[in-house]
């Protein structure tokens, strides 16, 4: 089936005129999303979507267009629009498509036939079971904000006039729920999820119990006093910070003077406990992929090793401009040209289990949820301040729940203040995986 997409991409590329580089990205996906409420299906969406993105480069100028259709006429119009857009770009000697680099695209087990053949009725049953387990988990559970099952089967083909021809298909699915717990007038919420490539990977009960537990343990939460404290970030929270850290290590931000690590290659930028990798070839990762957004092989890159900055990530353009080679980190959908980014970032796990990390702290906070990262973290300056909730740690033990406070520092300082890295690597529904992380001297703002 993906061959059909590659054939379309080939046809577009064959239309390249002399002196013109042409790239076609052709995608198609089937998605199902089921939301349940009160034991019944609230909505069931099932849809096929497709699209094409065409990039044209002529004499150092680039133009782009896309269409959410694979009709012959839409493709012809898109190619014409992309060509027309070329003339308005500024000349850039580094502009150009990716070229084959000899790195073989890895063969990863990303497509599962079991996902394709999973019946709709079984998907509904799984979502209803998810909700049922949440509601039955604890008498204080007062309702659910959402309980859903979703899956997707996506195929993509990339071809260029420079000789790239890559095609791939992958499946994924997840269940996710937001539970509410109430005690008198007070309500607290908690989420839980489970992700996989096929239904047998999913554990709806675990997701449901996690959501119920997160909601109920927040009941009675108070605002903590302000001060400087040692904080344990749980894997979910660590992963969100790693996602932002990834942005500061992208080659394009570095070249354009937007990375606070621009001049730090080879230098120590954090605790020696930190080894940060970007490895989209690890199939356990939700965002694992065999190829990047330009059709080059995805690969494992070590970004920070024992606290020392090793390299930035690049796509073809940023690499050419930086005088290096692409690290296979072009990121895009069919509606945009490739940018640069980490695909699946994580810390190499440490030795301590999370309970031991908690036991080592006299006075601190376990942060289990952060909010407002998109507004509260400035990846250019490094300043950050995010809303948080979690549990107080006293004398090595988890104590009362706390909410309505912020944690603040700078990314630079936080990397240096890492005291311990947990052994509890968790794969999450995002482009980063998490471990428990102990960070000293964060400013907690509360009452």
């Amino acid at each position: 089936m993906s061959d059909e997409l590659l054939a379309i991409a080939d046809r577009v590329v064959a239309m390249a005129k002399p002196g013109e580089q042409v790239e076609a990205v052709v995608v198609r996906g089937t998605e199902t999303e089921i939301k349940v409420f009160s034991g019944d299906v609230e909505s069931l969406s099932s849809a096929q979507s497709q699209g094409v993105g065409i990039r044209v480069v002529v004499d150092g100028r680039q133009g782009f267009a896309y269409a959410g259709s694979l009709d012959e006429s839409a493709i012809a119009e898109t190619l014409a629009d992309a060509r027309d857009n070329v003339s308005f770009a500024t000349f850039d000697e580094f502009a150009g498509l990716a070229e084959p680099d000899g790195v073989a695209v890895p063969v990863l087990d990303l497509h599962r036939d079991a996902m394709v053949s999973f019946a709709t009725s079984d998907k509904i049953a799984m979502a209803i079971e998810l909700e049922r387990v949440v509601m039955a988990a604890d008498p204080r559970i007062s309702g659910i904000e959402s309980a859903e099952y979703a899956d997707s089967i996506s195929e993509a083909a990339i071809a260029t006039s420079t000789g790239i021809r890559t095609v791939g298909s992958e499946t994924s699915c997840y269940v996710a729920t937001y539970a509410m717990a109430a005690d008198g007038d007070e309500t607290q919420t908690g989420f839980g999820f489970s992700v996989g490539r096929e239904p047998s990977d999913l554990d709806p009960s675990r997701a449901a119990l996690e959501a119920a537990s997160r909601a109920t343990r927040m009941l009675g939460a108070v605002q903590p006093p302000s001060g400087r404290l040692t904080v344990v970030l749980d894997p979910w929270v660590t992963a969100q910070f790693l996602g932002i850290l990834g942005y500061t290590l992208d080659g394009e931000s570095v070249l354009k003077g937007r990375s606070l690590f621009a001049d730090r290659l080879g230098e120590s930028v954090g605790s020696s406990l930190l080894t940060l990798i970007d490895d989209p070839t690890d199939v356990r990762s939700f965002t694992a992929t065999d190829a990047d957004g330009e059709g080059l092989a995805a690969r494992r890159n070590v970004l920070i090793e024992n606290g020392v900055l090793q390299q930035f990530v690049h796509n073809a353009y940023s690499a050419r401009r930086a005088g290096t080679v692409s690290t296979g980190n072009a990121v895009r959908g069919f509606k945009s040209t490739p940018s640069v980014g980490c695909l699946s970032v994580s810390l190499v796990p440490g030795n301590s289990d999370p309970a031991a990390l908690i036991a080592s702290i006299n006075d601190g906070v376990l942060v289990q949820e952060v909010s407002g990262l998109h507004s509260g973290v400035n990846p250019v300056s490094g300043d950050f301040s995010t809303g948080a909730e979690g549990l107080r740690i006293r004398n090595g033990e988890l104590a009362e729940p706390v909410r309505e406070f912020t944690i603040a520092s700078t990314l630079q300082k936080m990397l240096r203040d890492v005291q311990a890295v947990g052994n509890d690597l968790e794969f999450l529904p995002m482009n980063a995986s998490g471990v428990s992380l102990v960070v000293a001297d964060l400013t907690v703002s509360g009452s």
């Binding site: 969406s45 857009n85 003077g257 909410r403």
Partner: protein
Amino acid sequence: MIEQSVLEEVLGVAMRTGGEFAEVFAEDRRNASAVLDDGRVEELTSGRDRGAGIRVVVGETTGFAHTADLSEAGLIAAAEAAAAAARGGGGGTNVVALHRGTSSRGYDIETFPGDVPKARKVELLTRADEAARAVGDAISQVSVSYGDNRRRILVANSDGVFVEDDTVRTFFAVSCVATGDTGMQTGRESVGHTIGFELFDMYDIDQLARNAAERAITKLAARPAPSGQMPVVIGSGGGGVLFHEACGHGLEADLVSKGASVFRGRVGQQVASKGVTVVDDGTMAREWGNIAIDDEGNPAQRNVLIEDGILTDYMWDHLRARKEGRRSSGNGRRQSYQNLPMVRMTNTYLLAGEEDPESIIASTPKGVYVKHLGGGQVNTATGDFVFGMTEAYLIEDGKVTEPLREGNLIGNGPEVLQRIDALGNDFAMGPPGTCGKDGQGVPVGDGVPTLRVSSLTIGGTAA
């Protein structure tokens, strides 16, 4: 976009398996954008998305399918898929007769961006880049983006509604990085309206670029924001997101009906300080959240949510209103034909009070003056929210003094509404926003006069 007879046929098919309500939402959208970064016009992008989403409601269940194929065969296939998803038990023939309605936004688009030569759009980028860089050597990087879109929609449903609309939006933004001894800081300005290329008659692009550059440079000298609770004065036009987050989301009927809102069951009660009136208004001419009809075919309305501190009503979409036996408030919106509609805000704002904004600051001995807020986030079930300060200053002895570095503010919606103790007479709408809910983004506007919250938690790093 689609013939009436075809729509009637498709709705009939959608209802055939026992559906109680069926709807066709078709959309034809063209996007154009241009980006200048690092001194170069990187590229122009043109995009087109065209398709239809069909939903069928049976009992409490909604079935939904979408297709990029607007032919009769394509629409019927999607209608059958949506009907199957809703699993209706009934059968028989359903005749749907559509009555063509009209939509009007009360003003005309003067210059359709599609008619403007691309070279003129590119020229704006270059001009803004030069103006920003001319502000000072400290400006080390500038990125400028231009975007316009034209969205034609058609809504037809089994209640006989048949209406079309054509919406044009134009957007422009400048982001600067300033570099100094203290590191790098950023400044951004954006403007966007539901109008055409006449946007650039309303705004001086050079001034916009200079403001963004100056904001970044000012922050180079900024000190860390304080940590802890203190009075916060929000600047006119710069802080509407506070009400979008602190109460707007909590007044969306879909969340209320699930018990996922702290405002559930509180209509008629005093939920905010006296004098506080909050409105959601899709009819606000030319504003970013303006709509003539919502994405369910209902005319846009001006809805008063809180009047003089008393909660008057929630916002409604078709489904939630139907359950309650009332009319939709015109708040059913969706990102595209690929999404189901849900309750969404349009332009949400707090009406002006009577105080002189200067005197609000002068009567604040110690606190923070937030001229511009960034994005925010709320947990509607608990009411806890955060939002970022992108431009803020200390208030000392009733005067605005030193600039502060970025940080988040954190608070609880119902508590903050009760703590508003001063409202200025200087109402203004703020910059264009994109509201995200359940993975869907829609354009929204917000506005506030200068106002003071007697106590909010500031999440800085200074003691």
